[in-house]
Structures are given as structure tokens and as C-alpha cells.
Amino acid sequence: MNIKLLFSTVILLLSTMVFSQEKQPKEKTAVTEKKNRKEIEEAEELNAVSIKGKSKKEKIETTGFAVNVIETKDASLRNLTTNELLDRSVGVRVRQNGGIGSNVEYNLNGMSGSTIGIFLDGIEVSTFGSSFNLNNIPPSMIERIEVYKGILPSHLTGDYVGGAINVVLKKDVSQNNATAAVSYGSFNTFQSDLSANYRDKKTGISFRGSGFYTYTDNSFETWGRSTTYVNHLQQIIRPYRAKRFNNDYKSVGGRFEVGFTDTKWADQFFIGYNGSSNYREIPHGITMAVPYVGRFNETEAHALILNYTKKDFLLKDLALNINAVRSERSTYLQDTVSFAYNWDGTIREVVEFGERVPLRTNGGQQGPKTITNTDRKITNARSNLGYMIANGHRISINHKYEATNRKDEDLLNPASQDLATRSLVSKHIISMNYEAETFNRKLKTNFLGKYTTNRTNQTKSEIVTTDGVNAVVKRDTTTSNYNFGYGATASYNVISDLFVIGSTENSYIMPTENQLFGAPEINILPNLSLEPEKNINYNLGFRYGAIDSGKHKISFYANAFWRNGYKKITQQAVDVSEIEDEADADIQTTRYVNLGRTQARGFEAEIIYIYNNRLNASLNFSKFNNVFKQERDENGNAHSLFGQQVPNEPYLTANANVQYRFNDVFQKKSILNAYYTIGYVGEYYIVWGQPDWSLTPSQFIHDLGVSYRFPSKKLVASIDVKNLLNAEIYDNFQIQKPGRGIYFKLNYTFSKFL
């Protein structure tokens, strides 16, 4: 309790600091304008110098975290999505349900789902709406992507034990320029993006804006076992070759920011708007067994953003960084077509009461007729205050605040929400860390502590009858809980270019409301005795390189990880004998329980080889075992599945990338880059015991690309062929992904336009 009080005070202090500071610096700006400009010039020089030292990528990667940084510079000129870029990097598996716009799940060395945070500049990307996601944010808007496995740094704290993907958007406005790109390719896929930066050198007033538009029919062919034709006797004919006809995707989004950069009072101060909307047809359910027609969702999101960074804030060596977002987002789902379809686009038939008639569904494609809308109002803010106590010793405090207000509407039956609980869920995370560079700066250590509090304010409605008169009575309840986590990282520079890197973490994840209180209508029973999940993670690895011997450069990276989950929260079918109401007993009845232990262990590695700055080749792979760790079975005997690989998850992935640069092809001063990528995913089974029918076979995906930069350096044209061999590929069991596709793209840079 004392601790809680202490932290509440800290939060209060911090927030007063944050808000009281906005005015102060402004007053000083005018006076120090001149001096400031000089400082910028100095800073720019300094930057130029530091480039020769270590790149941002190298810096982050040798801090001690299990992290790798993906640079997007090359990819932005090609026909690649951010997800494709991620999928090629070490230890990341992007499991997608189909073409552009389809559902995506990220798997970081065996950890997936809600254990992984997806951030945009340190703020959960979901805050910006589901229409602004890694499917459609073009790589050209992105500076770099940081992929953390396991332990997270203080600028990405949250309830995540599996790691995080942090997309860092471009910030630099030092050069006034604009870029535009258009791409067109297979399956009627059109993608375009635009971006522009402007900075007035005199005043520091800056603008940056970017936008994108994507449209695709996703009309790819599928021909695997999962594509079927069902005749009027409901006999399944497979495999069947069909072209998708119900998978349109349209997305538009933009981000506009105005502010000041490199002024006396702010290194960056921006206020902006981030908006997006999309339309997505949902072509099938969890399998391709039946095509859906007319099931779609529309999402829209409007977010106001604020960003402030200052290195020497008030004091020298005191750095402040604030990033705050307030958003309103909505998700609309409609499913009202009541005929069943075949994959050839025709309505299925059935014999009904002896006559052959069109087959009707239960009302919609996935179930009963549905029209729903969900509105969310989200506030998400992160502030970080860092102070260099002494040379090589830095302490920082980080505060994260998140509040969500959600409203669900059933548009077909509005009355069903008459008694809906209004709830405001808010979360504060305070974290502190201490970074030190010791032993002649060879040893970097980082100790982190994290305190999380969750608070739920609920207003529940209830019908109360007094003297035969009904009334809705509202009751307010507040529940809260908190937990501690801690971790440490270390990086030791053994010899020149060789870093040994290790980290560990001990953290908790709280059960969600659904897990605690259940959802009777989908047969989930409540379990109020659920305890938080505990996770202890270890990572140990090294980075070596780049070793430079004349024209050859080579670097290595390897990391082993060991993750232990205790009291893991898992959905479990309820033993029939425990169900009070006998009639409810059904195989589908489940509840969330704290299931003994889980364990994942494995390793990942990467080699990068560069020859003469022309050939750039890399090879990476990741192998992990998610192991079943329940030691005793229901009779107290040793569990016969103990120690086995948990089914239904890919556990071996590898990627090879080769890039070669040709100079002066066709024209002098032109540059032609050729790219070749092979992706490999090892086979896996979806149930225990590996029956043949449950096999998801191993996958080889070959992609080829060429980009050509014209001598003017303003125009880049590129061609990409994805899935070159037209292979039958699957990320998820029996959901076939697109075959061969060819895409063309033109990028144009308008430099120094003002």
C-alpha cells in the first residue's frame, strides 16, 4: 500500500512537471533565437561526425537488449509492404490470412498475440485505429523498425512479455523535399504514397505531411486442398481452382504535423493529425471452407498527436520526451447476405423438401445477420525524463498513461445495449531505469523497474422493480490492481567489434475482464480466482562485426532465449462434472485458468556479408521450441506429453536475401539494384501426434526485384515479382496465400522545392 502511495505521488509530480513546462520555454524562445541557430549548425556538424562512428542501428543493437533494427531506405523504393519487410528479418514471422489487408499475426520467436506490443513511435499502433497499421503504412514514411524480443526498454513498456515491434516514423525535416510514389501490379493492386517536409530556417517552423492510398481486388487464384466446390448434394469437390471475388481492400490515410524544430526551447515540437479509413471485405472465416460474400468492415480513426523533445531541458543533460495521442476510432461490421456461396462466385444449391433450391444461411455469412459498430476513445501518452548524472551514468523515469472508453452498438437490435456497462479502463505504468557505461565504456548495463496500475471505472445498469414500476438503476464500481516487474540488460565489448549481450526480466500480466468474468453467450464461464501470469525471460547472445578486410565486410549475430511462463492464462474446456447446470454441459464450455507452466527456448542467428559495397547478402534463421510443461496429468502421473513441442505453430524459419548493385547501366550515373529473397518456413502439425492431414507443409517463397535509379537521382523505377515460382503457400492451416504477382513502382523526389 505504501508503495502504491509512493508511486501515485511520483505520477502526480511527473504530470505536474509535464504540464507546467509547456509555457516556460516559450517565453525564452525569442531571446535565444540567434544563439540557437548557431547551435544547430554545430549540432549538424556533430551529427556528421558521429555518422562515422556508429549508426543508430548499431547503437541500438549493442545496448544489451535482444533487438534488431530494420532499415527501410531501400525497401521504400520497392513494392514492399512493411509487413513483408518484417517477415524477412531474423526471428520474426508474420502470419497473414491472405492478400493485402488481411488479418496479420506477429510471431516473435514463438511468442504471439497479446504478448507482443506493436508500437508507432512508442505508442500502441491500435491507438491510431485499425486502418493505420503495418499493412498500409508505406515504408517510405518509416525511418526504422525496432524489433525487441523478450525484455523491453523503458520507452516501450507495457503488458508485453513476448517483445515488441516499434515503428519509428521519419522525423528529419532538415531538407525540404517531397516524394511521391505509385505502384500497380497483379490482382488489380494500386498503391500510392506522398510525403513532404518543409522547414523555415529563420523561425524553425516546420511541417511534415504524408499520405497513402491503397486499393486492391486481391483477385488471386487459389488451387490447394482448401479451395472447394460444393454441389447440390453438399459433396465437396477438391482441389478446385478459383479466383477470389470477394476480397476488395481499400485504405486511405494521412499524417500532418506542424511545429518547430531545433529551436532554443524544443528540439522537436509538433502538433498533428493522423487520420485513416478503410474498407475491407472479409473473404472467409477461420478457414477457406466457405467463401463469404458481403461480409465487410469499415474502420475510421482520427487522432490528434503531440510530440515534444528537448535534450537540455531546463538543466544541462536533462532530456525530456513527450509523445501523446488522443484518438477516436470506430469499427463497423456488416454481414447480412443470407445465401451461401461457392468459390466460383455462384450461389450454392441444396435439396430442400425434395426440391433443388438456392441454399440459405442462418441470416449472415458467418452466423446470424449482424450489423455492429464499436467506438473507442483512447488517450495514450508517454513521457520520458532522462538525466545524465555523470559521464556514462544515466537515469531515466518513464511514465505511460493509457485510457480507453469503449462503446458497442448493435445496429440491428439497439435495445440489446440498453443495459450496457460503460467503462473507462485506464493504466499507468511508471518505469525507471539506470544505464551505466563502465570498464572503460566496454560494459553497458541497464537496470529497469516497472510498476503498473490498472484501474477500471464501471457503471453497470440494472433493472429494479419497486411497487410494480421498473427503473434502470446505475451502480458505479471501481476496481484496480497493480504489479511490479524488473529486468536488466548487459552488453560487453569483449574485443573490438565483438559484443556479448544478455538480458533478463521478471514481469506479470494481469487477466483481462473477459478472462475473469466470462462471457456466458459464448460459453465462457467466469473464474474470479485467476491470478496474474508471471514471466521470467533470459536472452544471451553476441554481435560480431562488421569485420572489415578491404572489400569484404562481414558481421554475425546470434541470440539464445529461454522464456518461462508461470500460471499462464489459457482457455480450457470445463470438465463436465464441474458444471452445475447439467444441460449446459457441452464440449464448447470453457473458462480461463492458470495453467501450470510454459516454456519456450531456442535461438536465432544472422550473417551479413557485404562485398565492395555492391553485393549485400544476408542469411538468418530462427528455431524455437514451445514446450508443453505440465508435469503431472489428472491422475498425478507424469504427463505423457511433457516436453513435447506444442502443435499449431511454425517453429523454424529462415530467410536469405541477396542484393547486388550495378552502376552505370544503360545510362551513366545510374544505379541498378537487383534483389533476391528466399523465405523458408519449416513444416508443422496442428494437432498432437502429427497425423498427415494436419500437416502444414514446409514453404519456400522466392521473391525477385529490380530497381533502377535514373541519373537525375530523382526518379526510381522498380519491378518486383513476388512468389516467383507460384508456390502454394500457407501461413495458417489451409488458408492459401497469393501466387505469383508482378508489381511496378515509380518513385519521384522533388528536392529542395522551396
Binding site: Q234, I236, V290, A420, Q572, D586, I587, F621
Partner: protein
């Protein structure tokens, strides 16, 4: 130094790639290939845990043995034996959750509709040729659009499968808060006739539920349809109904988390006998409800068939899987024979029996698997429906508490001639096939059944 390190790294990556991509050798079951040599194969099925370790919830495996094997106490079936990560004995029926298996009377074919999972609602037919030799034959059928992805279906007569599904219930209220008005949810039962020989859905139909104004205004409503059976003449289909009652003086119920309305208050007060829908076959018209005066417990199978056509042509219907009664539907009137009532409690002079699975053998003789309210374990009885008597047949594992779980999930009792085959294994413990000779009224222990954690045998066919 640099060169060495490079070599080591390269080697380790190459090794890992090679090892990781090695495929397992196929483990073919040994044995001859004589599929149709006239052997009466007895298929044993067993279920294993899901990915979270939940017992019996992950899928179903099958293994076929001869009646001689079944009777031999020295013979052992190890259906869940693993080598590495792979099951090596038997055959995995397609289903990521426990399969709903039926079989032809001669044991030559297994029929299954996958219950939920990636292909929930897909019907598969397998030919049986001994040991793990099962071969998919005929067409796969897509039943999901008609019956949903977790269909309730059984073999309603030899060669004929019938699937039923309750759905399209109305919201049990009208109006808005706070003055919601009760509305009977009614609903629809969809029916699909499955030709098991030619693997086709030859006719479908639906019943708009109508319990009559009187019952409906008292809050009675249907929540499930199950265990369809055909009469001897194959002209009438009998569908078991799950009935519940809303408290018409109550109000709406809500989800405890979201507050969204999810139903109407219920009451356990019931003054209504077992209900069964009778419908013409195969045209699926002329739906009519019949009601028993003898008991108020519903006739539903959790995973097993609960009603059979007797040698005498009448239909015998157990109030499984929670009651002790067996009711009779008359073959000439197609109505409940209100004068007939078999009660297992009375016949065995016990209390609190509930029939978990049963099988009519012939001439009024049947075998019942039951549990008791206050006593742990799972029990076997041989009953005579004609003189309403019963004999308890003792097994050495009957008092094992885990056996009640197994019996709850029990799917099928095997019958060949006068012999009844009961694979009995408490969850996660070894057991045996028990063979009941209905002529001599004896039970004996047959082949050993080995299990594994969270796995047990659920049927003989």
C-alpha cells in the same frame, strides 16, 4: 581467428537447417492388406488432449481389432503410443476436436462429422481394414451451412445419417429498458438427411418450432435438438428436444462484463414431460410434438445415441444423459406409450442413477452405462426392457472416479451378435475391453487398453 569463427557460424547454421528440415519417416502399420476378407473388425476410438492439455478434447484416434483379439486378455491396444512427437499406432480421424463417430452395423465403415476446428461440419467416411488401416472413401460433405460447425448427428437407421441443428431463436424480449417484455424465442430446427452409402445430403428441411400458445406463454422453449432416429418402417423421424423455461415474471439477463443483453431469466420449475418432435421421412414434413407423462427429463445425447428401434418395432428412448428412464414410443401410433416406463433406479433398487450411454441389443435386452449421483465411478448394467428388470455387472474399475468423466464422453457401445463390447478406461489410466454376453448375463475382461495423459477410449464399433 576471424576465419574460424566464420566457419563455425556457417557450420552451425547449416546443421540447424538440415536437422530442422528432416522429415519423419512414415510409420506404416504392419499387417496384411486384406481389406475385404470378411473379418468383422471392431474399431476402438479414443480421444486425446488439446494443445492446452485439456483431457479428451484434442481429437480422436481409431484402431481396429478382431473379436478374438478383443476377447484375449493378453492382447494389448496402445492407441496413444508415441515415438518422439508422433503417434505410431492407429489412425487419426480428421477432426481437431473430438470427432462424432458412427459406424455401419458390420463395422466396415466409420462415419464422422468433424466437431468445430478448422473443418468443423465436414463429413468423412472411412473404410476399415484392420489395425490403423483406415481409408477415406466417398465424398466429403459440407454440412456446416445447414447444421453449423458443431453439428449434432447420428446414424438414424442403417445407411442413413440424420443431422439436426437448433437455431434462429428470436431475442427473448421486445421493447426497451427498463420495460422489456418477454417474447418466446421459438426458433427453427434444421434437418439434413445423409445417405451414408452414396455420401450425399439427399434432402433437407426445417421445423419452425411451435410449442403452442399455452406452453410458450409459460416460458417453455426449445434450446437443443438431438439424437434423431427413424422408425422401423423408415417413415417417421423422432427428434429429441432440450426444453428450458423462462421466468416470465423476470427480466433480461446480461453479460457480466459488457452488460449486453444475452437472454431472459430462467426457472427450474417444470411441469412438462419429455418432448419429441415427430416428422415424416424422407420428405421432412408434418412436424408434430409428442409428450411423455412419465418423466420430465429431456432425451438428449451428450455425445452418444440415446434412442433405438427395438426388435418389437417400438422405439426405446432413454432420458440420457442425465436421467434413469427409458420411455417407449409405440410403432403403430407414433405416440408415447404412456403405460410403459422403465426406471433404472427401480430396476436396480438404487437412487440417483443417470444413464450415460446405452445400447439396445435384441429382444428387449440392452446394456446401460450409468453413473450415480452420490457415488463416484461408472457402472454397467444389463437390462430387460420387457420385464423391466436389471442386473448390475461388476467391473474391477467401476469405482474409479475418473470413469465418470470417460462415460460422460462415451460415444458408442459395440455389438456383435449376443456380445457387447465396452472399452472402459478412466481418463489417463489403463483399462480393458469388457465383453458382456447377453445370453449368459456375464461380463468378462478382454484385451488391455493402454492410455496416456488426458486420453481415453470412447467407443467400440
Amino acid at each position: 581467428m576471424k576465419k574460424n569463427l566464420f566457419k563455425i557460424a556457417l557450420f552451425s547454421i547449416a546443421t540447424a537447417l538440415t536437422l530442422g528440415s528432416c522429415s519423419n519417416d512414415d510409420n506404416n502399420d504392419s499387417g496384411d492388406n486384406s481389406g475385404n476378407d470378411g473379418t468383422r473388425w471392431i474399431s476402438l476410438t479414443g480421444s486425446f488432449p488439446d494443445a492446452n492439455g485439456t483431457a479428451g478434447n484434442g481429437g480422436t484416434r481409431a484402431y481396429a481389432i478382431t473379436p478374438e483379439n478383443a476377447e484375449n486378455p493378453d492382447y494389448e491396444v496402445d492407441l496413444f503410443k508415441m515415438e518422439g512427437d508422433k503417434y505410431v499406432n492407429g489412425f487419426a480421424l480428421k477432426s481437431s476436436r473430438t470427432a462424432r463417430v458412427q459406424a455401419s452395423a458390420d463395422g466396415k465403415f466409420l462415419y464422422n462429422i468433424q466437431y468445430t476446428g478448422t473443418e468443423g461440419g465436414v463429413f468423412n467416411k472411412y473404410s476399415v481394414s484392420g489395425a490403423g488401416k483406415y481409408e477415406e472413401v466417398g465424398f466429403e460433405l459440407n454440412t456446416a451451412t445447414i447444421l453449423g460447425t458443431s453439428p449434432r448427428w447420428v446414424k438414424a437407421a442403417e445407411g442413413i445419417g440424420v443431422g439436426v441443428s437448433f437455431g434462429e431463436a428470436l431475442d427473448p424480449y421486445t421493447g426497451t429498458a427498463p420495460n422489456f417484455v418477454y417474447r418466446n424465442p421459438k426458433g427453427t430446427i434444421k434437418i439434413a438427411n445423409i445417405d451414408l452409402n452414396n455420401t450425399a445430403i439427399t434432402n433437407t428441411g426445417s421445423i419452425n418450432i411451435d410449442l403452442g400458445t399455452e406452453l410458450e406463454s409459460q416460458g417453455y422453449h426449445v434450446w437443443r435438438a438431438d439424437v434423431p432416429v427413424l422408425n422401423q418402417a423408415k417413415t417417421k423421424l423422432f427428434i429429441g428436444l432440450g426444453v428450458r423455461r423462462h421466468d416470465i415474471n423476470g427480466t433480461v439477463t446480461t453479460n457480466p462484463t459488457s452488460g449486453a443483453i444475452n437472454g431472459w431469466d430462467r426457472t427450474d420449475e417444470r411441469n412438462l414431460g419429455t418432448l419429441t418432435y415427430v416428422i415424416d421421412y424422407p420428405n421432412l414434413r408434418n412436424a408434430k410434438i409428442i409428450s411423455s407423462n412419465n418423466t420430465m427429463i429431456d432425451n438428449l445425447g451428450y455425445r452418444t445415441m440415446t434412442q433405438y428401434v427395438g426388435t418389437d418395432g417400438h422405439i426405446y428412448q432413454a432420458t440420457a444423459t442425465s436421467g434413469p428412464d427409458i420411455l417407449r414410443i409405440d410403432k403403430t401410433t407414433n405416440e408415447y406409450d404412456q403405460a410403459y416406463h422403465f426406471n433404472l433406479n427401480t430396476a436396480l433398487s438404487i437412487t440417483g442413477a443417470s444413464i450415460k450411454a446405452w445400447r439396445y441389443v435384441k429382444d428387449g435386452i440392452a446394456v446401460v452405462l450409468y453413473t450415480m449421483e452420490d457415488t463416484a465411478g461408472g457402472y454397467v448394467a444389463l437390462i430387460n426392457l420387457n420385464d423391466k428388470t436389471a442386473v448390475k455387472l461388476t467391473t474391477e474399475i467401476e469405482e474409479d472416479a475418473e470413469l465418470s468423466t470417460t462415460l460422460r464422453q462415451f460415444q458408442n457401445i459395440g455389438v456383435i451378435g449376443d456380445n457387447v463390447y465396452l472399452p472402459l478406461t478412466p481418463a489417463g489410466k489403463d483399462g480393458n475391453i469388457y465383453i458382456v454376453n447377453t445370453k449368459t448375463k456375464t461380463i468378462k475382461k478382454g484385451a488391455k487398453l493402454k492410455t496416456a495423459s488426458g486420453s481415453y477410449y470412447i467407443g467400440a464399433y
